[in-house]
Amino acid sequence: MSLIEITEVRKSFGANEVLKGINIDVDPGEVIAIIGKSGSGKSTLLRCINGLELIDDGSISVAGAQLLPDELHLKALRLKVGMIFQQFNLFPHLTAGGNVMLSQMVVKKTPKAAAEAMAHKMLERVGLGHKYDAFPDELSGGQQQRVAIARALAMQPIALLCDEITSALDPELVAEVLGVVRELASEGMTLLMVTHEMKFARDVCSRVVFMHQGRVHEIGKPEEVFADPKTPELKQFLGVH
């Protein structure tokens, strides 16, 4: 059975239909790269999956948790699927450790000592154990993004959504973040990532989704999608003629 089931999902902003019937099923442990032009609806799709946007039609479920617009269902869904943002969105008034602890304590009611231990463990996991007491503005972009990953992991989600998580980074900082993601993938974490890192998508992902004008235009294994694009739109996007 699929872990994430996205069925006939439609979403409009006013008269602008941004998602026009999306169907994707993701198996446990799969790493999916979502590629496509700017404005094709990639971010909107990810944001729908954890309920930051409400869908107009269709259905989304993650490990049996259905996307429904009330706080209880949303919370259940969000405990299963974490999200990493392009702009990191760390809490600037809390240290790295505090960022990782907060939602554990507030949402899961984890006792402080246990949340602290988990924060240390997760920061260690992204290679930032020594930055436990640093505030976000004392960290580089790459480090901030790794803290954001640790913060999401501390909630022990079964899937992670990553929306262009390296796009706001200086080029020399991209590798450290992708390294962490690569490790997560090898540990069996289910990942849906919008990315422009084609080499990464080719090396790490199990499937690639090409979105075009609010539809899944092509989907397949990276070797098929990249080596043998079927549609002219994908050919053009990849720059092959």
């Binding site: 954890n50 706080e71 969000r78 943002f85 809490f91 907060l102 939602s103 976000p136 503005d137 954001a148």
Partner: protein, 219 residues
């Protein structure tokens, strides 16, 4: 005719200035309490309460403080309630301060980046938790300079209460002038005392703001 020494004048003004300070404190603290309540209505999720707070703010910001004082003083008298000047002054200034503080603080809450809401949502936090642990701590910090700055407006606002007969610094200035016939000197002293009260506040508001900007530059 009785001779007034400079010290007599200053002493009388300073004694009255106590009431300016007390009224300012009461107005500011009371305004902050009512303002907090209104803020939660204003940014909360109940539409009725949001609208109530919105119109409250518009009403009090859209009419002169002097009219509010008159209405508190004379208006309640119409219902046979005899309102002493200090009570009318206190009530009007509290309600007036609350409106401005609500609006200042709402701006601070809304200045917090959308990403903070999204990140905390995606971690499973509910609205109250987001407010309590993510939004308000940040909003509180940026709210400090304008709030301190507004306290200066409160102090100056208390001067109007002299018109309904509350004896604070301005009223004392008029009384002393009537006895000494030295308006320029007396009101000059009154102004100096106001300045001594207000200047440290507006200065610290500026300093706080600069400090905050420096702290934010690294983000």
């Amino acid at each position: 005719m009785i001779e007034f020494s400079l010290w007599d004048i200053v002493r009388n003004l300073l004694l009255a200035a106590r009431w300016t300070v007390v009224l300012s404190l009461v107005s500011f603290i009371g305004g902050a309490l009512v303002g907090t309540l209104l803020l939660f209505m204003r940014i909360g999720r109940r539409r009725v309460l949001r609208l109530f707070a919105k119109y409250y703010v518009e009403l009090f910001q859209g009419t002169p403080l002097l009219m509010q004082l008159f209405l508190a003083f004379f208006g309640l008298g119409l219902f046979g309630i005899d309102v002493p000047a200090w009570l009318a002054a206190g009530v009007a200034l509290i309600l007036w301060s609350a409106a401005f503080l609500t609006e200042i603080w709402r701006g601070c809450v809304e200045a917090i980046a959308k990403g903070q809401w999204e990140a905390s949502s995606s971690l499973g936090m509910g609205y109250v938790q987001q407010m309590r642990y993510v939004i308000l701590p940040q909003a509180l910090k940026i709210a400090i300079p304008p709030t301190v700055g507004f306290s200066v407006q409160v102090i100056k606002g208390t001067a109007l209460t002299s018109i309904i007969g509350f004896v604070e610094l301005s009223k004392a200035g008029t009384v002393v002038t009537n006895a000494t016939f030295q308006p320029f000197m007396v009101y000059g002293l009154v102004a100096l005392i106001y300045f001594a009260l207000c200047w440290p506040l507006s200065k610290s508001s500026q300093v706080l703001e600069r400090k905050l900007n420096v702290a934010h530059r690294n983000h």
